[in-house]
Amino acid sequence: MSFSSPYFTLPKFTYFRPKSVGEAVNLLQKYGDDARLMAGGVGLINMLKERLMDPKALIDLKGIPELHKIEYSESKGLLVGATVTLNEILANRQLKKIYPALWESISVLSDNNLRNRSTLVGDLCEATPWVDSPPSLIAYQSSVIITGPSGTRTLPVESFVRGMAQLDLKNDELVTAVSIPKPGKDSRGRYYKFAKGTEFGLVNLAVVASGYEHGIPRNTRFVYGGIADTPVVATGITEAFRRGVTGDSVAHASEIIKESLLWVRNSAQPLEDNLASAEYRKHLMEVVTLQALREVLGVR
């Protein structure tokens, strides 16, 4: 995962700054695999310095006005354009109330300087396991809007990100925005990041819960980051909650906790790297899951 270039300079490439999405798509069609898209450039510049890629054309999207839009409506939810920076999202305090898990995951990402450049869509398209925002986007059931020569298509984020640096995106397509639907009325959300003594979360967890009955939510999404090449949706935990929403809430809360932990123990297979062992990550998953369960179930 390390970005550590011996070089100060960038490899040679031609820099393009298209003014419309159509122009950008034309360039993509022309250069194909030799083109790279740039929004904030935070990840890209590092990879260029490291010589991990050697593009002929670098297409800077920041000159396209329509990609720099951030819109919220009650009916459609939130739409974040491809060049909207993280700090531009954080500047909207209303979003903290509506999407607390997303807001928290953005606010803990790196530092203020990087948040001034880094974009939500760029972070997503980097498709690296340690980026904070994708688990939250998945927890809120977000989709990406993709434009290519044959038009526009929409794809859920969890199927868009296929693996480490792998996207469901053709070389003549670009992501123009990410769409985040409005969560249920009684929705609660939290983002947990375990990152003491590391820049990257060893285990991240985005939790969104709604549809409360007797203190237990009917719909929950527990999405883990930092533990595998792509964010991991804890289907077992979602199921446990669904089953738990009948009858006496106190009795079922303990059942839900037990089942959820069982899912972590039996189904989660966290990765091992130079930040942490798989064993430690699994332990942290248990700890953070318990913390999240207490929060969601209101156990203090």
């Binding site: 003491k196 809360a253 430690y280 156990v299």
Partner: protein, 816 residues
């Protein structure tokens, strides 16, 4: 002059560092800012093998890159350099010794061209068996990393062992440790470790060199010790010392990593190769991690013997240091670790061995603390362990064993002078500020515990016995002063303190005294090096000598002018006057360039004072026993911490720090406090998080600050209390001793001791990352982890959550 406790104008006050305005306005000039006409750029080509024979280097394709001027390889520079053991080649000759070893250097008109060409240099290797840890390197039949060791130039104090991988072996012996251990009431045997860490200075090493056509070499370099670099460079290039000029611009941090000689001779020779055009080399952060030198790693196997009353009777320690591909400075770190292994304690029987061993890893060098953090990591933990086993208080066991200045001799047989400092007062001050046995507030979450711990430290400069310093003080027309001192300036604040001393002594306003920030070896006074917390002591004493000489001249002139005996003349408030007759007074500006009588006759001349300082007490250490006098002073101090420990995750947070040092006399209070803050934070960062990780092939896998974590603002302790104790040392400037490195030494063991006191968990390895602490808790106190998990996973029954899992009491561990 000196120690009298009179009212002072500057000494003891808080004065902002005089180099701050240029730094905070971004106008200070660093080596990377230097641009000379026609300047070229250099780029290193480094090894991707840990240990391999170089079969061939093909530079043809690289040379075809437009703008490339020349490409140097090891065979262009067939000689070795190094401060204590000359084991280092400028570029690898014959073979490479670690991944990152510089093999070639490209010189080009632009950095872009140099980097492009560097990628195109083709090196053919034949792999040799590599060795990555010291235990393997010491085995018979291990691959030998330096086959030609017997030919190396070696400074008298060091003993490499040709035919092995041992770069230096140091032995300290006193009494009969083996016999004493056999008889001791309690023996603790243990192994402690530290990994390689980076100095993590903000400015990477940067050199601009110009090999002039008249044979003079000019260098602008980000370094600590201009004079040592000059001497070592002249020696390695076989040229007269005065043909080497080292310019010392602002330097963005050193911490020992820029002491001695770095890339200067390489870049100078590149300049010569490039038709005498200036050449600039800036290391990238990755190169700084893998191609330059870092702090060594070590393993220490120790055995400590105690009597029932806590008396520390015997200490057997075997330190093995991994000095990597070359030993350079680390041979002296190993010597220092050995001779200082007994810390501030009087241990009758000592048997300490410290070996520096070559491996196929990144080379190592000096770093803040220089062997003392290494020695204190085991030592200060052993005391707390023994205290627990003997049911003694950690304070009590230290009181039993602390050296007594005026009575004790150190481990090397040095009679500790009466005014060496007051370690007992250091200890009582830590107790007062930390209250290690006081009530500790419980945390809100039962799986998080609060704990307090402390450790003591001591350190003196580790330098050759004849290391000296000098100072030149020049008066200007208006009575202002330029002070010329050779001590390097990289954020430690020595020059501000020296200006304060001069201003105090002459009674001048501080702004009338100036040390030029950017200095050259041909334009300032000599000092051996800027290392070991020696700057204020050595250059301060030399400056006092210069002040004395200038004052004597002022007194001589004014006694003639006033026609009074010299004894009646006093120099103060920026003037010379006659005792008892204050109306007889000449401002220094009237004497500075020659005193002129009303008739136009003049006496005196431009006022100049010079001073020098050399220790007359130090000696080499006996090669068999390590006995002798290595240090010019010892500063005693200590660190206390209050931490929170999350039993579930192993996270340690330093909530509060206490820093105490007996520094003899405070010159600049703000400077002392800044060192104490800096030492606390750096010590905390290194002991909790920092570690260079290496894979099975010898590649460093985290050579950047994303993956090599150093403390961020969010990690800062809530409070750091800082206390300077003042037990003046008669031969120190105004009674002062050094303080720079000391503040970092005891942070790590203080944290480990806090964890041990609260949980009984022993932490043998740095860094104490959450994962290693979690593993240690799981292994040593699984009950605590189990309870913590239960508390968190508890159902809606929350009654048990209010109780703490661990109750911390004085000196004892008790679990609920």
């Amino acid at each position: 002059m000196g120690n009298e406790k009179t009212r002072t104008r500057y000494i003891g006050r808080s004065i902002p560092q005089n180099d701050s305005p240029l730094k905070v306005t971004g106008t200070a000039t660093y080596a990377s800012d230097i641009e000379l006409p026609g300047m070229l750029f250099a780029k290193l080509v480094t090894s991707d093998r840990a240990h391999a024979k170089i079969l061939s280097i093909d530079t043809k394709e690289a040379k075809s890159v437009p703008g490339v001027v020349a490409i140097a390889t090891g065979s262009d520079f067939p000689f070795r350099i190094g401060i204590y053991v000359g084991d280092r080649d400028l570029l690898a000759t014959d073979k490479v010794r670690w991944v990152g070893h510089p093999v070639a250097a490209v010189i080009a008109e632009t950095l872009q061209a140099a980097e492009e060409a560097a990628e195109k240099v083709q090196v053919q290797y034949e792999d040799l068996p590599a060795v990555f840890n010291v235990r393997d390197a010491l085995k018979p039949g291990a691959p030998i990393i330096h086959e030609h060791m017997s030919e190396y130039r070696v400074f008298p104090a060091f003993s490499p062992v040709p035919g092995t991988n041992i770069a230096n072996k140091f032995v300290l012996k006193r009494g009969d440790a083996k016999a004493a251990l056999d008889k001791a009431h309690l023996v603790i045997e243990e192994e402690f470790r530290m990994p390689r860490v980076s100095h993590a200075f903000m400015e990477t090493q940067t050199v601009v060199a110009l090999y002039r056509r008249d044979g003079v070499v000019e260098v602008w370099s980000s370094l600590q010790s201009p004079f040592a670099a000059r001497y070592l460079m002249a020696q390695s290039l076989n040229m007269p010392v005065n043909n080497v000029i080292i310019h010392h611009p602002f330097c963005g941090g050193g911490f020992g990593g820029k002491a001695g000689l770095g890339w200067e001779p390489l870049v100078a020779l590149l300049s010569k190769m490039a038709d005498n055009k200036p050449v600039k080399l800036i290391l990238s952060r990755k190169e700084q991690f893998v191609s330059a030198a870092v702090r060594e790693a070590f393993i220490a196997h120790v055995k400590a013997g105690f009597e029932k009353d806590g008396k520390f009777v015997a200490y057997q320690a075997d330190f093995i240091m991994d000095c990597g591909g070359y030993g350079d400075y680390t041979v002296n770190v190993s010597r220092t670790t050995g001779y200082a292994a007994d810390g501030s304690y009087d241990i009758e029987n000592l048997d300490v061995t410290c070996r520096a061993v070559y491996t196929n890893q990144v080379p190592t060098t000096a770093m803040r603390g220089f062997g003392y953090p290494e020695g204190h990591w085991p030592l200060e933990q052993l005391l707390d362990r023994a205290a627990a086993r003997l049911h003694l208080d950690p304070v009590k066991i230290r009181l039993v064993n602390l050296v007594k200045p005026g009575e004790s001799t150190t481990g090397t047989g040095e009679h500790l002078r009466e005014d060496a400092g007051d370690p007992r007062r250091v200890l009582s001050t830590i107790v007062k500020e930390l209250k290690p046995n006081g009530r500790i507030p419980e945390s809100k979450e039962p799986w998080v515990i609060r704990a307090r711990g402390f450790a003591l430290n001591v350190k003196g400069p580790s330098q050759p016995p004849n290391a000296s310093g000098s100072s030149i003080l020049k008066f200007n027309e208006d009575g202002s002063i330029d002070l010329l001192v050779g001590t390097g300036l990289f954020g430690q604040g020595t020059t501000t303190a020296l200006c304060m001393i001069v201003a105090e002594e002459f009674g001048l306003p501080l702004e009338k005294v100036r040390v030029p920030f950017e200095r050259g070896t041909d334009s300032t006074a000599y000092t051996w090096q800027t290392v070991g917390s020696r700057g204020l002591f050595v250059d301060g004493n030399a400056t006092l000598g210069a002040i004395r000489e200038a004052k004597a001249k002022i007194v001589e002139i004014s006694s003639q002018v006033f026609r009074v005996p010299k004894e009646d003349v006093v120099v103060r408030d920026g003037a010379a006057s006659v005792r008892g007759r204050p109306w007889l007074k000449i401002p220094l500006s009237d004497i500075a360039m020659a005193y002129t009588y009303p008739n136009g006759n003049a006496i005196g001349g431009p006022l100049i004072g010079t001073g020098t300082w050399t220790s007359v007490l130090n000696s080499y250490l006996n090669p068999e026993t390590g006995q002798g006098i290595p240090s010019i002073f010892h500063t005693f101090g200590g660190t206390g911490v209050e931490i929170t420990l999350n039993l579930l995750t192993g996270e340690i947070c330093v909530e509060k720090g206490v820093q105490v040092e007996d520094i003899g006399r405070v010159i600049n209070r703000l400077g002392v406090e800044q060192q104490m803050d800096g030492g606390m934070i750096m010590g905390m960062s290194i002991s909790l998080w920092e570690k260079m990780q290496v894979d099975g092939q010898g590649w460093v896998t985290n050579p950047n600050f994303s993956n090599y974590y150093i403390a961020r603002m969010k990690d800062m302790p809530g409070e750091i209390r800082k206390v300077a104790i003042e037990t003046p040392q008669e031969d120190g400037p105004w009674g002062a001793r050094g303080v720079g490195e000391m503040t970092m030494i005891s942070v790590a063991p203080a944290i480990a001791n806090a964890v041990f006191r609260a949980t009984g968990v022993i932490l043998r390895d740095e860094p104490m990352t959450p994962e290693t602490v979690w593993l240690a808790i799981r292994e040593q106190r699984p009950d605590l982890l189990e309870k913590a998990m239960k508390a968190l996973g508890g159902t809606s029954d929350t009654t048990h959550l209010q109780r703490p899992l661990v109750r911390v009491k004085s000196g004892q561990n008790e679990t609920s």
